[in-house]
């Protein structure tokens, strides 16, 4: 991959270049307190732009898989049905997307586009999406207490699947091109060739940043094994289930969760729209069938299900990507503190107990 060096002050000029190419450039901005959210960069807000700030909890997956999205409209006239799909095809650039979220979008690519059926709504949004990744280097801003991308091998610096990657080297930024579209931007004069010293600095910073992660959950891969083999005790799932208040939050904020439900809305006397809305396997109604049969009634069955779907070898192989990217959002939004890092820890502890019990 080609890399270039730019001045610190030129970072926003990349956004300008993309805007010049017709992209709506969307970046994380600070809100009240520690809140941050994605917003289009405009003349009005560009002074508020910051490169290092907490990753927004409302995940950028919604720019390819919206929280609520119209699939089609259906009009009735003279007994006929006019069924029309509605697509969104405008160009968008995510400027400052973190490495975990890049991995999340890659996972969605594998899921929505990688198998027998292609999701055209996803595809049209994805094809028009440009990703400018920012490497997480500042503890407290980029890296928070819940981050565990080291364990999922998705950060703090993404290895691929971005168009451009920015890394803060102090006075300068290293810019890495991940795609031809990204590389094409290097024709601008602000991109300078780098030196071996730049490369060494990058490695040194990344080595230092590794130590800043509080949640290292080194037991993550063992958890994958335990979950895949069905070796996690029912008791552990019950404990996890008892702390789940079934809000669905972990799924909604997850960059790699894909489930949705579909709903028809009356929009006029002879017109309806069909929308799809994020759905969550934590919810009791998720598997309930018309007529009342629900194969997954107990809350711990549903919790078990979510972690199995994310961590089972079978699905990792099927998608060639794991449905957990180490962003830590599920932990931050969970009422009962049963986000992924804690679940890994609970499974580890339970396995120790059962080991000693066997002795």
């Amino acid at each position: 991959m080609k890399a270039r060096i730019i001045d610190r002050d030129d970072v926003l000029k990349i956004a300008d270049l993309l805007q010049g190419q017709g992209y709506d450039v969307i970046a994380p901005f600070p809100g009240r307190g520690r809140d941050t959210f994605f917003e289009s960069i405009s003349d009005e807000n560009r002074q508020r732009f910051q490169i290092h700030l907490p990753n927004p909890y409302y995940p950028p997956k919604r720019f390819v898989f919206p929280h609520m999205e119209r699939l089609l409209t259906v009009r009735r006239s003279n007994g006929d049905l006019l069924i029309e799909p509605t697509y969104r095809e405008s160009k968008r650039a995510l400027f400052g997307i973190r490495s975990c979220d890049v991995a999340g979008i890659y996972h969605l690519d594998r899921f929505y586009l990688g198998r027998e059926y292609h999701d055209i709504y996803y595809e049209k949004r994805r094809r028009n999406l440009f990703l400018v990744n920012v490497v997480c280097t500042v503890p407290g801003a980029d890296i928070n207490n819940e981050c565990f991308c080291l364990c999922t091998d998705t950060g703090p610096a993404a290895k691929d699947h971005f168009d451009l990657q920015l890394m803060d080297l102090g006075d300068e930024f290293m810019v890495v091109a991940g795609t031809p579209a990204g590389e094409a931007l290097f024709s601008d004069s602000m991109f300078k060739r780098g030196s071996e010293a730049h490369r060494e600095k990058r490695v040194a910073i990344l080595n230092e940043v590794r130590k800043q992660f509080k949640k290292t959950t080194s037991w993550f891969s063992a958890t994958v094994r335990y979950v895949s083999q069905g070796a996690v005790l029912d008791k552990t799932w019950e404990e996890i289930g008892n702390r789940c208040l079934e809000c669905g939050g972990c799924t909604y904020v997850c960059p790699a969760c894909t489930c949705f439900t579909v709903s028809d809305h009356q929009t006029g006397s002879d017109e309806i729209e069909r929308v799809r809305i994020w759905d969550a396997c934590a919810l009791a109604g998720f598997t309930r069938m018309a007529g009342g049969h629900n194969p997954r009634r107990a809350v711990h069955d549903r919790r078990n299900r979510r972690f199995f779907r994310k961590l089972a070898h079978y699905f990792i192989q099927r998608e060639l990507s794991m449905a957990c990217v180490g962003c830590g959002r599920c932990a931050a939004v969970c009422h009962g503190d049963v986000g992924m890092p804690n679940v890994v820890e609970m499974i580890r502890r339970a396995s120790l107990e059962s080991d000693t019990h066997a002795d």
């Binding site: 409302y58 702390r243 579909v262 009356q266 809305i277 009791a284 931050a332 009962g336």
Partner: protein, 675 residues
């Protein structure tokens, strides 16, 4: 894409969340990580609030009943009709023939103006909110014992509690954000004591779970007081300096017998003792309950507050009494004086001083006698005295609590409804005014932790639709009043003058941080995290001796089970919102879909004893009536009890028969009904 911080309006927690808009459409929602009430968490309802805002089937034009049918008319015609009809009714039958009722979901501004319209313009104190039937009692107890009606402490403060007692309420379902806070506090080391007559999710995390017979809360807390007195753990310095009626209370406690009480409650005495000792020895301990009725006997709040005073668990961070409100603005609606006997700020209508202060402010007279309560108005039109009813976002016809509400409304000469959807109540309406919804207006709500906060406007309402408070201004003007409010902020300025503990709560101040917790005064504009802190004007508290605590229902061989009338477990009062979200409808109506003809819940072991299978038809028989329904067999309810969700209105009427109205517990027997 734009984001704006606002306040969730589903329940009393008042979570901070961001609404994402695209054009004039709300397309997404996410929690605020920094809002002190929720800190990044919201419940399933909050996560789907954008679907509710987006509901396409809402009303967009005013409706007027013509030839028996509601027809779309112009706004002028609708307001003209209302003013004419109100004048005729007032002139013919007097102002007492008109009543104004609202829902505890209404904003502070519209509530304030509604009661002002009633009192200042129409000259009647017939104002009340829909939850008054069961919540006003808790309010009055707190006023009597603390002098302040509300949760004393902050939700965030639970992080600093050493002991948390949760009585009755199923937090996981009713107020999940508080439920989560309690679970996390427990994980961080707080002792969690749960007392309830049915199992629930939060109980699974409890250190001590006291599963007690329904109707014994007061006895249970009384027994704990007895343990504390016997162990010499009473906080005497606190009591001596700040409390009255202690001697009388002490005498009533001394007469208790722990073992006998334990048996009556169905709880082992050592569990009661353990709970009492934990509570008394804690540096700070909180007690949580809800204002919902949920089979709460009359003296249970007194018993809980007595215990709190006995140990001085008040006036400090992490302690206090959490009188949790399920409706998002129950606290605010009461603060605004939406009560037949109380003015804004809780002054009594019949207290000349309190009334005069408001009269001077409004520059008009207020009738000096208390008005009629909502249940009085709706059960038989106040013995026929009521001719006109104004209903602001209130849908009494589909809440089973007052089963005669529909019939009462049918007999009125004017039923005016402000509503978003064509509710059941609109069937009886002469005129329906569609209003703006959450997200379309900038107004304030007061959460269960006394947090006055702004719910922001993020999109425009459909053409012609105004916020409910503006419609009230139009009615007042049509009735000849010279009201002038340019914005909801102007209304809040007036509220600040009428309600002393809101005097610092202007919109400028509220738009910083995450709103302010009252008292928020000119002197203390930053608000108050917990009440009665040392240093603040000292306050005196009162014990209320409970001579004869409520006792459990006496069952016998013929009627061996206790029937509990629940109310809020399945969120019936939010149905109008929930049914507009595919996901929420699915989640909250699931049990109704599984048991389409309604159901009652029976414990698994009882079901075995009476040979009843899940979903089977059964007959419930009380001394005064009987009914057929389906059984939902579940280990969640306590053995020996049968739980009736309130929305099965039919069941309720058949079983209560001529029993005392409002009876929450009845002895019952269960019989198999032939299929």
């Amino acid at each position: 894409m734009a984001h704006r911080l606002t306040t969730c309006t589903f329940c009393g927690v008042g979570c901070g969340l961001y609404l994402e808009t695209s054009g004039n459409r709300v397309v997404g929602v996410s929690p605020s990580m920094s809002h002190p009430a929720n800190e990044g968490r919201i419940c399933v309802r909050g996560w789907h609030v954008h679907e509710v805002i987006d509901a396409p089937d809402r009303l967009k034009k005013p409706l007027l009943r013509k030839n028996g049918r509601l027809e779309e008319v112009t706004w002028d015609e609708a307001f003209g009709f209302i003013a004419d009809r109100l004048k005729v009714i007032r002139d013919t039958h007097g102002p007492e023939s008109i009543a104004f009722l609202n829902s505890p979901r209404c904003s502070n501004e519209e509530t304030y103006l509604l009661q002002k319209l009633a009192r200042a313009v129409m000259k009647t104190n017939n104002v009340d909110h829909g939850a008054g039937v069961y919540s006003n009692y808790a309010l009055n107890v707190l006023l009597k014992m603390f002098g302040t009606p509300g949760t004393t402490n902050s939700i965030q403060g639970l992080d600093r509690s050493d002991v948390i007692i949760v009585s009755g309420v199923d937090l996981g379902r009713q107020l999940p954000t508080i439920g989560g806070r309690v679970i996390r506090a427990k994980l961080k080391g707080a002792k969690l004591i749960v007392m309830a007559s049915r199992r629930h999710r939060v109980a699974e995390s409890a250190d001590l779970f006291l599963l007690h017979k329904p109707g014994t809360v007061s006895m249970l807390f009384g027994a704990m007081a007895k343990v504390i007195v016997d162990h010499g753990l009473v906080n005497l310095p606190f009591i001596r300096s700040r409390c009255s009626s202690y001697e009388a209370f002490l005498a009533s406690v001394r007469s208790r017998d722990l073992l006998a009480t334990a048996e009556a409650c169905g709880v082992p005495a050592d569990q009661i003792e353990a709970a009492a000792l934990e509570y008394a020895r804690a540096a700070s301990a909180a007690i949580l309950y809800t204002t919902g009725i949920e089979a709460r006997e009359h003296d249970s709040v007194e018993a809980m507050v007595n215990l709190c005073l006995l140990c001085g668990q008040i006036g400090k961070d992490g302690g206090g009494i959490f009188s949790l409100t399920e409706h998002n603005n129950l606290q605010g609606v009461c603060d605004m004086g939406m009560l037949p006997e109380r003015l804004p700020g809780y002054g009594m209508v019949e207290d000349d001083g309190a009334r005069r202060a408001i009269e001077e402010m409004w520059d008009t007279s207020i009738p000096p006698r208390r008005g009629m309560s909502a249940s009085w108005v709706l059960s038989h039109r106040g013995q026929g005295a009521v001719r006109a009813v104004w209903l602001c976002r209130y849908d009494p016809a589909s809440t089973a609590f007052i089963s005669e509400a529909g019939e009462s409304l049918r007999q009125c000469d004017l039923v005016a409804v402000q509503a978003v959807f064509l509710t059941e109540t609109c069937k009886y309406a002469h005129v329906v005014l569609p209003t703006a919804v959450f997200g379309e207006e900038r107004v304030t709500f007061t959460s269960t932790e006394r947090r006055i906060q702004i719910a922001d406007k993020v999109i425009d309402p459909p053409a012609g639709i105004e916020p409910a408070w503006q419609q009230l201004v139009r009615v007042a003007r049509a009735m000849g009043a010279e009201w002038k409010y340019d914005s909801a902020a102007d209304v809040m300025d007036e509220i600040g003058a009428a309600v002393p503990f809101y005097s610092g709560a202007n919109y400028e101040n509220l738009s910083h941080d995450y709103g302010r917790q009252w008292p928020c005064t000119r002197e203390h504009p930053m608000g108050t995290q917990f009440l009665f802190a040392p240093g603040h004007p000292s306050q005196s508290f009162t014990f209320i001796p409970i001579e004869k605590p409520a006792r459990p229902v006496v069952t016998n061989d013929e009627y061996p089970l206790t029937l509990i009338f629940g109310h809020s477990l399945y969120y019936w009062h939010q149905n109008v919102l929930i049914k507009h979200s595919e996901t929420l409808k699915r989640e909250y109506r699931m049990l109704l879909l599984d048991y389409p003809d309604g159901f009652v819940e029976i414990n698994t072991s009882d079901a075995k004893r009476y040979n009843i299978r899940d979903g089977e038809k059964i007959r419930l028989r009380t001394t005064s009536g009987s009914c057929v329904t389906a059984a939902r067999v579940t280990p969640e309810v306590m053995s020996g009890t049968v739980y009736v969700p309130y929305f099965v209105g039919q069941v309720l009427r058949q079983l209560r028969g001529d029993q005392e109205k409002g009876a929450q517990l009845l002895p019952v027997r269960v019989e198999k009904e032939a299929a």
